[in-house]
């Protein structure tokens, strides 16, 4: 084992290992130097601080309702920074808690989608042949199915807990990732280093883990941010359509309540804008980081600038 490691190290192909040997700090640095990436990271940091620390300072009591007619749908005031809901609950406090659910579902769905997509892409690209044909046919089929309608159907059939929502979004968001990873792996497997390592007797699993995966890792990372923004949007749409978890109130659920309680015709803009802006900022942060990573990692585009 260790022998093989040493040999492989000596055989390092400078061109091939360009991305892998580039320390990950380098990616963060170029991300920070890209205006798009920097604004994305700053927004992301802001969102994370607000929804992680916010609820600790301003806890939300789901059981506390307004007790008088005057306490419902109040405009923003010193007591209620972002006004109150149709039940007299504090919009700002609900917003802080709701962000956690939105992020939680987004993250777990993305994890499922990335593991599935990257895994299938890796197998498909590495083995080629019939496995590739079969897997890519399946991928193309799911790529063509309209995603949001499919997610809605699945959620309507299998329930509304945040676990089901994460599963449903995760299981429908992988095809694009699989395609991207596959095409990268296809070119990697033909590079001299892989051929040399293979001739030294390294097994498929070992080659994939040690030499292919590290080289597609940055690509997976860039894709992760984009899948995340899509997952947060999908969760918001599901919750808005009444397919969210009725107990765990996310930003989408708040918007569902605002819409269905007729708060809009009462002019309660604070009720709609607070969670809505939350979703936009979170999604924008992820997509800025994703697009920026895409640019940073794509040498062709970088050379052009």
């Amino acid at each position: 084992m260790s022998n093989l490691d040493d040999t492989a190290g000596e055989l390092r192909d400078p061109e091939f290992d360009d991305v892998a040997s580039r320390p990950h700090r380098g990616i963060w640095k170029s991300l920070w130097h890209d205006p798009m990436g920097r604004s994305g990271l700053i927004m992301l940091g802001f969102v994370l601080v607000v929804i992680m620390i916010g609820p600790l300072i301003f806890p939300f009591d789901a059981q506390s309702f307004g007790t008088s007619a005057a306490s419902i749908l109040q405009a923003p005031s010193r007591a209620h920074w972002m006004g109150t809901t149709e039940l007299g609950q504090d919009v700002f406090r609900q917003f802080l808690v709701g962000g956690r659910i939105s992020l939680y579902v987004g993250l777990s769905a993305t994890l499922i989608a990335i593991v599935l997509g990257a895994g299938l892409g890796l197998i498909s690209g590495y083995y080629a042949g019939w496995r590739d044909t079969v897997l890519m046919r399946i991928t193309d089929f799911f790529l063509v199915l309209p995603t949001l309608p499919l997610i809605i159907v699945l959620a309507a059939l299998f329930g509304q807990s945040i676990l089901v929502t994460s599963l449903v979004i995760g299981l429908t968001s992988w095809p694009q990732t699989a395609r991207i990873i596959r095409s990268q792996v296809l070119s990697l497997r033909e590079r001299p280093l892989v051929q040399r390592v293979r001739s030294l007797g390294a097994g498929d699993l070992r080659i994939m883990r040690k030499h292919i995966l590290p080289n597609v890792a940055p690509l997976i990372f860039a894709n992760l941010a984009l899948v995340l923004s899509g997952a947060v949007l999908a969760q918001a749409a599901l919750a808005f359509l009444g397919l969210g978890d009725p107990v765990q109130v996310s930003w989408g659920t708040t918007l569902h309540n605002a819409f269905n309680s007729g708060a809009m015709s009462q002019g309660a803009w604070w009720y709609v804008m607070t969670p809505g802006v939350g979703i936009v900022v979170m999604v924008l942060a992820f997509s800025l980081v994703g697009h920026s990573l895409d640019r940073v990692l794509n040498p062709l585009l970088r050379g052009e600038q």
């Binding site: 089929f141 059939l157 923004s229 936009v280």
Partner: protein
């Protein structure tokens, strides 16, 4: 376009449609928690009623036989019976499909025009301030859920001012001639179509921009510039023509997205199309209608992809010759 290519594409189309229909069967009839199974298993029926239901839905047959009955019904255009409307699903869908086509068609047309125009503006001044602001604005708009954009427009045009109607297809109780009816529908169409356009034009401008930027560095673009052509001519006549192919492909892929957007937008604006039908059938647990809508959406996307494949052949002389 060669006959062989067409035959190959047609085969793929038929296979994909078949798989889609089977996938639908799996979702709605086989998987645990599928509505048909739940219906017959509900504890509130007396044995006679249950037996009636089991027979009505063919649950007494093996799954294999059920599958063939399902396929046969599909081929006869029988999508089942709506629980809520008490009408065949095809009748229910027939009443909604035109409205969705009107909304999605209008939005797609405006999206392509505006999106490509913005993309050209950004690409022809690549890496300038205009480019950056178009890209950032597009990303911002792309990050907005369709339903949220719709809600903002409702506040602006329907709550704070009363410029445009915010709900439905026509003004209830309005009696006018055909022209008055046309104007009324058009006014109701503005906000939902605008909402769909906002989000999707953003996506479209990003795609066109990136494709165009790739084309702009090609050698023939340098030739065109060397000939002393004006920048506008170069971009619109030379670059855009070559960038058309990826844009056509993107349009096909984007149909799935715009249908997803239509569900949200029709819900927000109570536009009586298939999106609102999906929303209502989810709320009322009207599974046959939900199944029919999903199938129709899937077929629409598959058909669009097929057409874009053929269009690709017609548009690209290099592919045509081989």
């Amino acid at each position: 376009m060669s006959v062989r290519y067409l035959a190959k594409k047609l085969t793929t189309l038929v296979v994909t449609l078949y798989v889609t229909v089977s996938f639908n069967f799996l979702l709605f009839h086989v998987l645990p928690g599928s509505p048909i199974q739940l219906l017959a298993r509900s504890g509130h029926y007396d044995p006679a009623a249950r037996a009636q239901l089991v027979k009505l839905f063919g649950l007494n047959h093996s799954l294999f036989t059920q599958y063939f009955i399902y396929l046969k019904n599909m081929l006869h255009g029988d999508l089942g019976f709506s629980y809520v409307f008490r009408k065949p699903v095809t009748t229910v869908l027939g009443g909604a499909i035109g409205n969705t086509l009107l909304l999605v068609g209008t939005a797609t047309l405006v999206t392509i025009l505006v999106g490509v125009w913005l993309g050209v503006m950004a690409a022809s001044r690549a890496h300038s301030l205009t480019d950056a602001s178009i890209t950032v604005t597009s990303l911002g708009l792309w990050s907005m859920p369709d339903f949220f954009t719709g809600m903002i427009l409702i506040f602006i045009c329907g709550v704070w001012t009363h410029i445009l109607p915010i709900s439905g297809l026509v003004t209830p109780g309005l009696v006018t001639g055909p022209w008055g009816h046309f104007v009324d529908v058009a006014r109701h169409l503005v906000l939902p179509a605008l909402t769909l356009t906002f989000v999707n034009a953003a996506e479209f401008s990003l795609i066109s921009r990136n494709t165009l930027v790739d084309v702009m560095v090609e050698d023939y673009m340098l030739t065109a510039r060397a000939k002393g052509l004006r920048r506008r001519t170069i971009v619109w006549r030379h670059a855009l023509r070559n960038a058309m192919l990826p844009i056509v492909t993107a349009t096909a892929l984007y149909v799935g997205m715009i249908l997803g957007g239509a569900i949200q937008v029709e819900t927000v604006f109570s536009w009586p199309g298939m999106g609102l039908l999906i929303y209502n059938s989810v709320v009322q647990r009207d599974y046959p209608v939900l199944e029919g809508c999903f199938l129709l959406f899937a077929i629409a996307v598959i058909a669009t992809n097929f057409i874009s494949d053929l269009l690709y052949q017609v548009l690209d002389p290099r592919v045509r010759r081989t």
